[in-house]
Every structure is written in C-alpha cells, then in structure tokens.
Amino acid sequence: MSEQPLIRARGLVKRFGDFTAVDGIDLEVAPGEAFGFLGPNGAGKSSTMRMIGCVSMPTSGELRILGMDPARDGARIRGRLGVCPQLDNLDPDLSVRENLTTYARYFGMSRARARARAEELLDFVQLRDRAASRVEPLSGGMKRRLTIARAMVNDPDLVLLDEPTTGLDPQARHLLWERLFRLRQRGTTLVLTTHYMDEAEQLCDRLVVMDGGRIVAEGSPRSLIGTYCTPEVVELRFPDGVDPAGGLEGIGRVDPLPDRVLLYTGDGDAAVAEVHRRGLVPSSVLVRRSSLEDVFLKLTGRTLVD
C-alpha cells in the first residue's frame, strides 16, 4: 500500500474488566476502500468500531486513524468521521430536520451551512416529507436512514456503519445499499459491520471475519470463498428418521446441519448424480454457488443470523 492507510491497528486490544472483547487485531484500511467486519454476536465488532470512532480508548496496542492518535487528537479525528452506531441514538426532543441541523452544529458548521446540508440529506435518504415530524413516530427503517443521513452531515472522509441495515425490510435495505454505493463512488471510505452475507458481498471490497475477539480470516469476498470453500454447494434434505451421513462419504466435504446436509464440491450436478447412484433419496436437492455464508459457517461453526 503506497498511500497512507486511513485506519491502521496493530495488536489492538479492548478489555472490559477481565473480559477481553477484542484480542489483539491488526487492520489496515486504505482510502476509498469499503471494508467489512463479519462475525457472530459478541465477536467484538462493535467494540472495534467504537475504538475506530474514538469514543472508546484501546486497552493496549497501536491505533492510528487518518494518521492521528485517538488518545491525543480524538476530537480532530471525530470531526472527519461519520458514525452510524448499532443502536439509533437520534434526539427524541427534536424534529427530523433539527436532528440534522443540530448535529451539524456539533461539528462547528455555521447555521446556514447546517440548514443547507440538512436539506440535501433529507433528499438523499428520502425523508423530505417527514422533515417536520418528531423522531419517535418514524418507522425503524426511517430512523435508520435518518441516523445514516446524520452520519453524513459533516461530509466525512471515513464513515463507520455498525449494522446499518439490521431490521430493515428488503426495499429499505436496497435503498440504503444504493446510497452507500454512491458514497463509495464519490471516494468516501466505508467501514461497516453486518450479519448479512449478501450485504458484505455487495458493498465490501475487503472484509475480515471476527470470532472471539480475533480476526480469523481476511480477504475480498471472492478470495475468501476461493480459500475456504469449494465453488459449489449442494443442500440436501432427507425425510425424518433417515441419517445419510455415512452414505455421503467421499462425495465432497460433508457438513451436517440440524435441518439439512451441506455438500461442498467443485461440481454440484456430478455430486447429486453420485448421491442418487448410491441409492440415497433426499426429499429435496438444491445446487447453488457457494457464498460467504458458507465461509462463515466453516470458520465460526455458526450461521450468521441465528
């Protein structure tokens, strides 16, 4: 990497009492990159995001954001960040528009500039018709959009999004993806956490999988699939009472789940043919390209959304 990284962490640790939430991770995020954190509940994603956001001090290790030290230049760094926390913390005493203008003022923007910026952002997240409403009656998706708009108010160099689309309906998610995609095109660096594999594949150039406070894998979505998975996956379901596990040996890597069996293989159709040749009769068969979900399952032994 020739350019100076926007985020650089070495041996980053966060402890709460004697509990270690982040256990010595190394990171580098380049300008313009879209970087993702995946990991099961409690993996340490939010704890890491909060350290990057300079609201939580690392217990040990080295952290540089935008080339600066959070311990010394926290306020200056935060001035160039946009943060969308995991849980919305919009201001319940203010209207939708005031939530944006008031937030802009915390960044030292003039009143006129704050107002203009709020109007742009209301359009950007399609909340113009609710501008005068208070926050409380908004739907979950609208609140999320407002939180993301608020994170853009200072035209940040680096945007941190902690589970930006959790709890949104598919339409709202696609709207947000599209907005985030536009930000990326404008050169804004994005760092996000997600439990959605499709989101990670859509939005991230590069990602890390965290588990138990450590990074267990790193790479582009494609390369992770290439490294940890076969190109295709066969999902087999068997009638109740049939245990086919032994009969599948040798066809590919077998991963028995409570409700189905996964077969990892280079050629799905050939594998299905072999299953039938052995006289096994699954009640349903699905051949698909392998996804990040499979990588995740392999690495953490857990499905993402449980």
């Binding site: 306020a75 935060r78 960040l81 849980l87 319940p92 005493d93 008031t102 030292g108 200072n154």
Partner: protein, 267 residues
C-alpha cells in the same frame, strides 16, 4: 495554568451547539413550558405564604447591622437563592439524567468533536439560563413588593447567577453518580432539607451551635448569605468568602461531571 489548559481545549462554538440543542428542544411541546412555569411560582408562593403570612405573626427582625426589618424582607432574598438553586437543579438533575441515561443524547454528541467537558459546560450554561429567568422574574416581584431597591436588585442578579452556576454544576455531578430514578428521592430530600435549614426562615444565629456549624458548611447557606447581604444593601468583605465557596463548588462539580460523563459513555 488551569485556564490555559481550558482555553486550549474548550471550543465556545461547540459549547454553544450543546446549548443550541436545548433551545431546539424547547419547541418540543407545552409540557416543558408548564414545568418551567411551576418552577417559578413555587418560591413566590413561599414568599407570600410564609414571608407575608407568617410574617404578620412574627413581626419584625433585627439584621446583622442592627437594622430592624419586616420578616418578608428577611425571607425574600432566601427565596431568591432557593429559586436560583431549584431552577439550575431541575435542569441538571432530572433532565440531564434523562439525556444521559435514556435518550442517549450525550452518547450521540460525544461521537462528534464535542468533548465531555464541553457537554458539561453547555448543559451548565443552559441550566444557568433557566435559573436566570427565574431569578430575574423573582427580583421584579421583590422590587414590586418593596422588598429591595432597584439598584441593589441589579447587584443581586449576578450573585443569583453564581448560585445557579454552583448548584447546576454540583447537580450535574450528582446526576452522573445516580444509579436510577429512585436515587433522586435522596436528592429531593436533600434539597428540601437545605431549603428549610439554611438560614432561610430564621437567622442562623438562633440555631443550636451544633446545627449552626453543620449549616454553615452547606451551599445554600452561603448562597442565602450572599444574596441577602446584597439585597439588604450591606456589601462586605465577608460576601467574598461566600462567593469563593460557590466558585469552588462550580469548579468541583464541573470537573466531576466531565470525568464521570467520559467514564460512563466512552468505555
């Protein structure tokens, strides 16, 4: 030295933005205005019922300089100090605690360049504004009732601001230590005890010696003495001591509040 450190770190614009947030919240509905109004009337009602009503039974009272005055003249400055105290406290206890613990207002603010001390200063400035509105209105009542002169009222006003500042800062510090709403019962009780026993309704000189020592250590006593001295037109060097006490209280309250905010929200 301390002020140099403060000047380097505190941005007036960011403190102003925190105050601005509260101004914006004022538009949020009539509930807030009702609370605001009731806070003003409370001390006025005490002044009328006790100062004037009980005053008719008590008759007259001898002040420190030997002057003899009506009982209401004695009680009014104390009620002014109480009004400055409760104005600041209602903002920095209940409202502050709610913003810190439930509305996550400060959590959101601290993700921006605004620092914990700037949040504390902004909240304090806002509490002072409320306190100033109460004391300003109360002084008008006092002048109208002939309980002080206009000239001395102008001198009392900044002293009342200082009272609001000191109680606001300490109220904020206390709020950061609260575990839940039930702890506020203690605050309310403490506030009421101060209200009764700070030389408010009778001269501290008449208290039993032990109680007197205790009372002279508490903040409302110093507030009442400061305000009463000026309202009665009796400035003296002693008043500086009371002002110093209130200034120290302000600094300590601010320091604790900022530190505790950081501890609670920037883990």
């Amino acid at each position: 030295m301390v002020s140099a450190v403060l000047a380097a770190r505190v941005s007036p614009a960011r403190v102003g933005a925190v105050v601005g947030r509260n101004v914006g919240a004022l538009r949020s509905g009539p509930a807030y205005w009702l609370v605001l109004a009731s806070g003003f009337f409370e001390p006025v009602l005490y002044l009328l019922s006790i100062g004037v009503g009980v005053g008719a039974l008590v008759g007259e009272l001898r002040l420190a300089d030997g002057r003899v005055v009506e009982y209401a003249v004695f009680v009014a400055p104390a009620m002014l100090a109480v009004s400055a105290m409760s104005g600041a406290l209602s903002e920095t206890t209940f409202n502050f605690f709610f913003k810190m613990k439930y509305a996550k207002t400060f959590e959101a603010i601290l993700a921006t360049p605004v620092r914990p001390l700037e949040v504390a200063l902004g909240e304090l400035a806002w509490a002072m504004t409320r306190s100033a509105v109460y004391t300003g209105a109360f002084l008008v009542v006092m002048v109208a009732m002939g309980l002080t002169r206009v000239g001395w009222a102008l001198a009392v006003f900044p002293a009342a601001l200082l009272v609001g500042l000191a109680f606001g800062a300490v109220g904020m510090a206390v709020s950061t230590l609260m575990r839940g709403w039930q702890d506020f019962d203690l605050v309310t009780t403490g506030q009421f005890a101060l209200f009764l026993f700070s030389g408010t309704f009778s001269p501290v000189g008449d208290y039993p010696p032990v109680l007197r020592v205790v009372v002279e250590a508490t903040p409302l006593f110093h507030s009442v003495e400061l305000v009463r001295g000026l309202a009665a037109g009796l400035p003296g060097w002693g008043l500086l001591g009371h002002a110093g006490y209130l200034l120290a209280m302000t600094a300590a309250g601010l320091w604790v509040a900022a530190r505790r905010l950081e501890r609670a929200l920037c883990r």
